[in-house]
């Protein structure tokens, strides 16, 4: 069966499933799912929401600020404003990773805006689609941490086999009894696509919902993007693992889908009253906001986000990010280490407002066109 035919039949199956009233599959890749959980443990189904979502829908505003006493406080402002606009736009992109000569960074610097985008994703409830450093597996150059996010399963250890295509975290990985916790698109298990509907009917973490002969959830890694023929260098922002001379300032389909999945609310159905929209805002150089950003070398060797979680909804598999993990509301949640050579982008990604001179030129052009039209009409 061709891929197109397979996808078509899967879509038909999904539609039939809905029409027959099948229980909605659940969806996402979220904070707080504990590594020791396994099948039958409700925690593997946890979907994390930003603090401020009360389960009844509407708009959820999450404010971000910069500790005015932090190192690099002034340099952080514009990158943070850019990150806020990026999350508010929720536009999925491909080719979002610029390496080497494709970006403006010196070879030995780390792009603050890119890492901040990742950390802000954590603060909203997203976690890594890959196993990441929290797995305890060996770091790069080993690819073990790059496998799709899962628990260790009943045997208590990760089972890592990249399958026939030899691409880690692709759809043919063989993971034995590891419990998948990465939520995939049921239609095609392709993390670089997104549908009009993103909710528990169209995304799932259950391997039984995988299309065709797929054996595990594919994640938004660069290798998987290459395997799927996605243009440019593409990667989910929430995929753990950045490096020097790397820019990644726009969201991938998987990042957007996971947020939208949560935004379908506790009933996990898009278009119902408990859906919410998400608005991030910048509160300035202060510590009076929901998420404070700070350079503090005692808290991290590079970058991290702290949060506590609270099970505050009637649906037991939904959780929201705590305001703070730390004991006082004056303390920061997102930390960076100042030992690294950070690059602070100072180019705004805000839509450009037409300038007076540009408007003048446009007016002149319109006037010329009008005059030319008048001449043509006169000749006619």
């Amino acid at each position: 069966m061709s891929a197109r035919a397979r996808r078509g039949s899967l879509a038909l199956c999904a539609l039939l499933g809905l029409l027959l009233g099948a229980a909605p599959a659940r969806a996402g890749a979220f904070f707080f799912v504990p590594g020791e959980a396994s099948d039958g443990d409700s925690r593997v189904d946890w979907i994390a929401h930003p603090n401020g979502y009360d389960g009844t829908g509407g708009n959820v505003d999450v404010s971000y600020c910069i500790d005015p006493t932090s190192a690099n406080a002034a340099e952080m402002v514009l990158p943070l404003e850019n990150v806020i606009r990026t999350f508010n736009a929720l536009v999925p992109t491909t080719g979002n990773t610029l390496l080497g000569a494709a970006n403006e960074l010196p070879f030995n610097e780390v792009d603050f805006e890119s890492v901040l985008l990742h950390e802000v994703g954590h603060s909203l409830g997203l976690t890594h689609p890959n196993l990441g450093s929290e797995s305890g597996l060996p770091p790069f150059p080993s690819q073990d941490q790059d496998y799709a996010r899962s628990t260790r399963g009943a045997d208590g250890s990760f089972d890592l086999d990249d399958g026939a295509d030899a691409v880690v975290a692709s759809a043919d990985d063989l993971r034995d009894d590891d419990t998948n916790v990465h939520w995939f698109r049921v239609f095609d298990n392709d993390p670089f696509t997104i549908g009009a509907t993103v909710d528990g009917t169209s995304y799932s973490r259950l391997l039984a919902d995988l299309p065709g002969s797929d054996s595990f959830a594919a994640i938004g890694s660069r290798d998987v993007a290459g395997l799927l023929g996605v243009p440019g260098v593409s990667e989910a922002v929430m995929h753990q693992g950045t490096d020097y001379d790397e820019v990644q300032r726009s969201l991938s389909h998987d990042d957007v889908a996971t947020l939208r999945l949560a935004m379908a609310g506790v009933d996990e159905v898009q278009g119902t009253s408990d859906d919410y929209t998400l608005t991030l805002s910048y509160a300035g150089l202060t510590t009076r906001c929901d998420v404070v950003i700070d350079f503090d070398d005692t808290e991290t060797s590079f970058a991290k986000t702290f949060s506590q979680g609270e099970l505050a909804y009637t649906a037991s598999d939904h959780i929201h990010m705590g305001r703070l993990y730390l004991p006082t509301t004056q303390d920061p949640e997102i930390f960076f280490n100042d030992g690294y050579a950070w690059f602070f982008n100072q180019v705004s990604n805000a839509p450009q407002v037409p300038s007076l001179s540009w408007l003048g030129g446009l007016g002149l052009a319109a006037a010329c066109l009008a005059a030319a039209g008048a001449r043509l009409r006169r000749r006619a």
Binding site: F32, E119, G132, S133, Q240, T300, K304
Partner: protein, 194 residues
């Protein structure tokens, strides 16, 4: 993994240090090889979100230490400096006092699990620390010819664990030890090696 130098002559001459740190008996002494080719302390930190290796430190028996601050860090490069015999002895005493030589990772993990019960929290992108200390604490007057023991510690998310569970003294001690070693990594008066 880097191959460790074979401790030969250095192990024969063990420096005996008067102990006095809080976690050990006043009668204890910390012993280690003073040979120039004996690695007494190895420390490395791997940031969770970063693919490239983090900074590292190697301290030799004669007090010489080598710091690597990889590309992407401020003041990147390989550097060296030397601790006096007293400074190295003092450093090892403090590490012993912090509980490094007796650190029981399994017990600390159990304590962390117990402390975390009923609480939901997470610190993203946990760092990993790798610490090797080749020294031993022995009762004063005990036989001094034995080779110093090798203590290896690997811990993930130490800073987050200490923040979340300050009551776990073993983790606090390990964090204090790491902070002391980081101070050497971050020292500004180091000699560039290349």
């Amino acid at each position: 993994m880097r191959r460790l130098p074979t401790p030969l002559a250095g192990l024969v001459s063990l420096l005996l240090l008067a102990a006095g740190a809080a976690a050990q008996s006043p009668a204890d002494e910390v012993v280690y090889s003073t040979a120039a080719d004996s690695l007494v302390i190895e420390f490395r930190e791997q940031p969770g979100e970063l693919r490239s290796p983090g900074p590292s430190l190697r301290v030799y028996g004669d007090g010489r230490f080598v710091v690597q601050r990889p590309t992407g860090m401020k003041r990147a490069g390989e550097f060296s400096a030397r601790l006096t015999r007293e400074e190295l002895a003092g450093l090892l005493e403090r590490l012993a006092g912090d509980g490094v030589l007796d650190f029981d990772a399994e017990a600390a993990r159990r304590a962390r699990a117990d402390a975390a019960a009923g609480r939901i929290s997470e610190a993203s992108d946990p760092d990993s620390i790798f610490l090797v200390v080749r020294a031993a604490r022995v009762p004063a007057g005990a036989a001094r010819s034995a080779a110093p023991a090798e203590k290896r510690i690997t811990w993930r998310g130490l800073r987050g664990d200490v923040r979340a569970h300050p009551e776990i003294l073993a983790l606090q001690g390990l964090a204090d030890a790491c902070a002391e070693l980081r101070a050497l990594v971050d020292a500004r008066d180091l000699e560039p090696l290349r």
